[in-house]
């Protein structure tokens, strides 16, 4: 066991997979000498050289499109999009191509690739360095979407994503990069896609979250525990495929479900979770399936007062838990 920050765990996962499998290559803006703007790829260029750590031009569609091609021709590219906010120019390549090649060829073509992108707010990133973009991709059959919340998971899920035979979007909350630490085993391990984790057992309310909201949710759960509200915290980890069993099992037990997500509320990923719970756990509900999410404005303002207003916090989540628990 070693203690690692989230970003160290990602860097370890990348370099270990690159050592294990010579077909794994890393591409993206500034991933080479600079080691990425967050240093997620620091040291990789020195170890693996120009051929496997490729500093690309500033062109996201190209990064994704050539990764698709490279995947068709035997590599396992791990593309970095510098900020999740800048994934949009690659939207067509991801949605029309990466997600569909397998289906449209009856399984003849596969696209084993990972797109890593730092997402999320609370870092003075303003409108274009703070976005949560998962909902655009969780809606798309053919894609997998993963959001780790611990260093252990980050490394284990990244390994599984690289080894997966389908395109995986791997979103890393940038506020967690250095603020979150945790134990990571020294040997090789993986965390399978499609399995949620119960981070805290509880009987009264199920709080469903992922990424930074797991940390906030656990804090919120502690806050209300003193008031006698017993919260179960489900960390989805893998947004698509979704672990329905764990999700529904928890809600059927507690009878109350609160979904927390940082993205703006309307049409966000949490809407699907709420809809599934509302439909499939109806008989067990003794309170409305509730959501606590970002406000419906076009992304986060820069000024710290406005940013604080936008961001969820343990306190805001605790308030929502109290309202639901009191129902």
């Amino acid at each position: 066991m070693t203690t690692r920050t989230l970003i160290e765990a990602i860097r370890d996962g990348l370099s270990e997979e690159m050592r294990r499998d010579p077909t794994v290559v890393v591409m993206g803006e500034d991933v080479g000498k600079k080691g990425g703007v967050f240093l997620a790829t620091d040291g990789l260029w020195a170890e693996f050289g120009d051929n496997r750590v490729i500093d690309t031009p500033l062109t996201e569609s190209m990064i994704v499109g050539t990764s698709i091609g490279a995947a068709l021709n035997g590599l396992r590219p791990v593309a970095e999009i510098q900020f999740a906010d800048f994934i949009h120019p690659a939207f067509n390549q991801i949605v029309s191509e990466a997600a569909r090649l397998r289906y449209r060829t009856q399984g003849g073509f596969a696209v084993p690739m990972v797109i890593r992108a730092p997402y999320g707010g609370g870092v003075h990133g303003a409108l274009y360095h703070s976005q949560s973009v998962e909902a655009f991709f969780t809606h798309v059959p053919g894609l997998k979407v993963v959001v780790p919340s611990t260093p252990y998971d980050a490394k284990g899920l990244l390994r599984s994503s690289i080894r997966d035979d389908d395109p995986v979007l791997f979103f890393e909350h940038k506020r967690m990069y250095r603020s979150v630490r945790g134990d990571v085993p020294d040997g090789e391990y993986t965390v399978p896609l499609g399995r949620a984790a119960i981070r805290r057992q509880g009987r009264q309310v199920t709080l469903v979250a992922y990424g930074l909201m797991v940390a906030f949710g656990l804090e919120a759960a502690e806050q209300v525990a003193g008031e006698g509200i017993d919260v179960e915290v489900v960390d989805l980890r893998s947004l698509r495929p979704l672990d329905r069993e764990t999700l529904l099992g928890s809600v059927r037990k507690t009878g109350k479900c609160l979904v927390a997500y940082e993205d703006n509320r309307f049409g966000g990923y949490g809407a699907e979770i709420a809809a599934i719970v509302a439909e499939e756990a109806f008989d067990f509900l003794d309170g409305p399936v509730s959501r606590i999410a970002g406000p419906d404005v076009p992304a986060m303002p820069y000024n710290h007062v406005l940013e604080d207003w936008f961001m969820l916090s343990p306190a805001k989540i605790a308030d929502a838990i109290r309202r639901l628990a009191a129902y």
């Binding site: 690309t56 091609g69 035997g74």
Partner: protein, 363 residues
């Protein structure tokens, strides 16, 4: 007789010699054009007969396609073609049956099992990247393939093919830039037929020749007459040699003509004058190539007759075969969303295999 250029030892006319080919090569190329045209025409017949709701075809593009595809190593090099690439795909190893199965969208269609529209060919085995409808995306796939060849230390060449209208998409800029920076073994072929559906070149392309964009990426740009099959062959061969030997990408623009409407959904007389259409017909590569081969003494009456017979029966066979094949079972419609079933969402309630897991309320 197979559609191949793998050098059986035969006569070499001066015409063939001028391109470093044998007469058999020329005949094989001609036969590919003929076969392509015959299949293509049959598709329109099937469409008019109500047997195929959609046709998109390559009539007028065949000369460029056969010439440019010929220098490639089939199944080793890679192509990322577009919806008019019927001749290219034949030249790269697809069969008449393969194309007709796509036309009828049958379960055994090798390209997509009937999932894609006709004309969207693809085969991993043959290194033909599956055609998709959004134009120009394939340039990046081809560039990525070339990058992977380079990284793996292989000398395969990768070719993307599209129309001049599509060449204005942003992906083309990004792809050429990246391929040129790394001098990848990549070729971009533009089949310029002067129209993007109804929009004439003057309104979709700011320069007369797409090839004049090549210098902006530091790569050679070559213009060829798509009715001159051997000129196309030579341009393709030079570009393939350059790419294979580490000389980097080439942009080749073939001037072609679109002999049909854009697709079976289009009425081109609404936006093209009779004059324009007549000019197009005068640039049909098929009779031009035919005359060239006859003049060179490579093509004889006898050969023409036997080829015609052969092609008629191939098309007949392909049509009957494909029409008789079964449609896909609805039960297969959920297959191949992911490589493993664990990624899949529950089936809809009407799916043949549903029921085990209810999609409706857990009543």
């Amino acid at each position: 007789m197979t559609v191949t250029g793998d050098g059986r030892n035969t006569a070499t006319s001066p015409l063939a010699a001028s391109a470093g080919l044998t007469d058999d090569d020329l005949l094989a190329m001609y036969r590919t054009v003929l076969l392509s045209r015959a299949i293509d025409e049959r598709m329109w017949v099937l469409n008019r007969a109500g047997k195929a709701p959609f046709v998109i075809s390559g009539q007028g593009h065949e000369g460029a396609q056969v010439g440019l595809a010929w220098p490639l190593r089939r199944g080793y090099d890679w192509i990322a073609p577009f919806y008019r690439s019927i001749t290219t795909c034949l030249a790269f190893g697809m069969t008449a049956r393969d194309l007709m199965l796509a036309q009828f969208a049958k379960a055994s269609d090798v390209s997509s099992g009937g999932r894609q529209m006709p004309g969207h060919y693809g085969s991993m085995e043959r290194h033909i990247v599956s055609v998709s409808s959004p134009v120009a995306t394939q340039i990046l796939h081809a560039v990525g393939i070339a990058l992977a060849s380079r990284i793996k230390g292989e000398d395969a060449v990768s070719v993307a093919i599209m129309g001049e209208g599509s060449s204005n998409q942003g992906d083309v800029h990004e792809g050429l830039n990246f391929a040129a920076i790394h001098r990848l073994p990549f070729i971009l072929v533009i089949e310029n037929n002067g129209y993007a559906i109804s929009v004439p070149a003057e309104k979709e392309l700011s320069v007369k020749d797409v090839a004049s964009r090549a210098s902006g990426y530091g790569v050679p740009g070559v213009i060829v007459d798509g009715t001159d099959v051997l000129a196309c062959y030579r341009a393709g061969r030079d570009a393939v040699e350059r790419a294979r030997s580490g000389g980097g990408p080439t942009l080749i623009e073939a001037k072609v003509t679109r002999l049909t409407a854009h697709s079976s959904d289009d009425q081109q007389t609404k936006y093209r004058s009779e004059d324009d259409l007549a000019q197009g017909r005068a640039h049909d590569p098929l009779p031009i190539f035919r005359e060239q081969l006859r003049d060179a003494g490579v093509l004889t009456d006898e050969l023409e007759a036997s080829m015609a017979d052969e092609i008629r029966s191939i098309v007949e066979d392909a049509t009957t075969f494909a029409e008789g094949e079964p449609d896909a079972e609805p039960s297969t419609a959920l297959d191949h969303v992911y490589g493993d079933a664990t990624g899949a969402e529950p089936a809809p309630p009407w799916h043949p295999s549903a029921g085990a897991r209810s999609e409706g309320p857990a009543a």
